[in-house]
Symmetry: C2
Subunit: 339 residues, 2 copies
DNA sequence: CTGAAAGCGCTAACAA
DNA sequence: TTGTTAGCGCTTTCAG
């Protein structure tokens, strides 16, 4: 079928009346080919509409010119943008990217990695589903470089790209504190995630520095973050002065939940949120957020990977990108300004 | 490097003390292998941590168990969700998906397709950058099945998955008309896109049915949709009563532009928008939108593709999925309800 | 039931 | 500068 119509390099060589190797040389623009034969080959290639079979090439060269990326959830705009950035750089380097989602499940993640490895990917960018321990290094062959993305894995030495989670959380909390807010509650999910832990740590540091008792309300899984949960866990006993949400999904759900409770985020209770998103500035009041450079994160991850792929050695590198506090109104400020 | 540590099927066969072919048989659970040898092979596989090389397998079998997807812009939530849906189905079928973005540029699109084809993809799902004419069939080998996604291509017979663009636009317009709004203007971009044309057609049909003059304001490219453009093109001469935005990006930009002009969408001027997105319901007033089943679109595209891949013939099919009018407040309604 | 041998399309030693 | 000859890791006739 495909076979029938796809010319191979042998066909090209025949058509150009040269040897297979000469054709191959032209294809890879190696030196040592007379211009005349090169011409003939190029013409033959054009005439036949020949396209090299990358599978065959990869089989021989032990590489696929493909990298894998595993993310927990592609629907999260943060992730989508990061993928976009990664892909751009990959394309510029002549690589393609195979995308896989783990849904935040380490088992799925593991199985996806195995599939990817079977596809002979040359590198892997992964946002680990669980950073508490190494759940996959054992199935990654030597020679396949790994970059972790957005998360770190305990006790594992691989290149990584993250943001200043702790400091951002601290700054956001400080900002809230600066408004005279005292009973600030942090809302997040999946306590075991690196990002969650770091952000909680930053929040707690800030609270403690102000001699205040931190209050951290975490759900095991995002699906548990409902209006009922908010009413029960956050509002029941001690009414908070302000809320800090620790990631995009939690922000969404908190916003929705609050509305069900007839409260408006930012008006009835000040709110600062992790992760910026389109139209966060169009809400009323406009949401104050920690903006993460998602696309840049993706690009940096790719950059690290391609440096390794091009043979660069050295100890592993941890890139930490700065976030940006975008102060709008939901924190209690009344004019737009950017810190 | 990788080579050194990766056991091959030959190693497995040796370890199990059977022939290569027997090992291969076990790997593909073919019949005709004595249970005893099968056991030996399976043990050897486990012991060695053997993983089949899909590249080699694909080379032989003329397939890669990989499909390609080309989208204009991954950052669009509609697209991200569709990719997610596609990927899920692909995974369930043992396929992986290579993602590429065209940025809406047919040349980039073409070059990405060529790369994908070189990678021996078994199928391609594509949201064409330009549906006015066929810009790529010539480079797709027979045997690689194509499904177009969100768009149709003039005069090309391939499977497709789209939504009821025309009818949705018509219904949205009718709804606005039902509020007594008369001077409704449609705002969109890239007149040549199938989705744009269809939506415009639906809008116009609705206006004409009401004996009203349609007014369509289109920008060549989204980047041109600024507050200045709105002031000049939409508001200068004839003040519209209401706005219908024709896709997600245009909705974003119109919302922002309006604010710059000190107008609030839905309050100062009723607005109905194409494409739902997270928090559209949290805006004030909440946005009335045409909701597209993005993830389902992705899933259906995958389904069509896999039907073809599993040998199903027949003439090409055009799946058209219904959208849902989600009536919130920006259209002029004052209570949430869903049509 | 099993195995030897011939490739899939390409690249790379090694000669000529 | 060229071409011949082996494979990469796997599947698959086709004999045993």
């Amino acid at each position: 079928m495909r076979k029938s119509d796809a010319p191979t390099l042998v066909d090209v060589a025949q058509e150009a009346d040269v040897s297979l190797k000469t054709a191959s040389r032209v294809l890879n623009n190696s030196k040592n080919v007379s211009e005349e034969k090169a011409q003939r080959v190029r013409k033959a290639i054009a005439r036949l509409g020949y396209r090299p079979n990358e599978l065959a090439r990869g089989l021989k060269a032990q590489r696929s010119a493909t990298i894998g990326m595993i993310v927990p959830n592609l629907s999260d705009p943060f992730t989508a943008n990061a993928v976009h950035g990664l892909q751009e750089v990959a394309r510029a380097n002549g690589y393609m990217v195979i995308l896989a989602s783990s849904g935040g499940d380490p088992d799925v993640e593991r199985s996806e990695i195995q599939t990817l490895v079977g596809r002979q990917i040359d590198g892997l960018v992964i946002a680990p589903a669980d950073g508490r321990r190494d759940t996959f290094s054992d199935i990654i062959p030597e020679g396949v470089h790994v970059v972790t993305f957005d998360e770190l894995i305990r006790n594992v030495k691989v290149d990584s790209v993250t943001v200043t989670n702790r400091r951002s959380a601290q700054e956001a909390t400080n900002h809230l504190l600066g408004h005279g807010l005292r009973k600030i509650v942090a809302i997040g999910a999946r306590a075991y995630l690196y990002t969650c832990k770091e952000r909680v740590a930053g929040y707690e540091a800030s609270m403690k520095a102000a001699s205040l008792a931190p209050r951290v309300c975490l759900v095991k899984h995002e699906s548990l973050l409902t209006a009922e949960w908010l009413a029960e866990e956050v509002f029941r006993n001690q009414k908070p002065d302000a809320i800090l949400t620790l990631n995009w999904v939690c922000t969404m759900l908190t916003l929705r939940g609050l509305r069900q409770l007839k409260k408006t985020a930012g008006r009835d209770i000040p709110l600062f949120s992790f992760d910026d998103f389109d139209l966060a500035d169009m809400l009323t009041p406009a949401l104050s957020v920690v903006h993460q450079p998602a696309e840049m994160l993706g690009r940096e991850a790719a950059r690290l990977l391609f440096e390794r792929l091009s043979g660069k050695g050295g100890s592993c590198r941890a890139i930490v990108l700065p976030t940006e506090l975008i102060i709008r109104q939901s924190c209690g400020c009344h004019r737009d300004r950017t810190d």
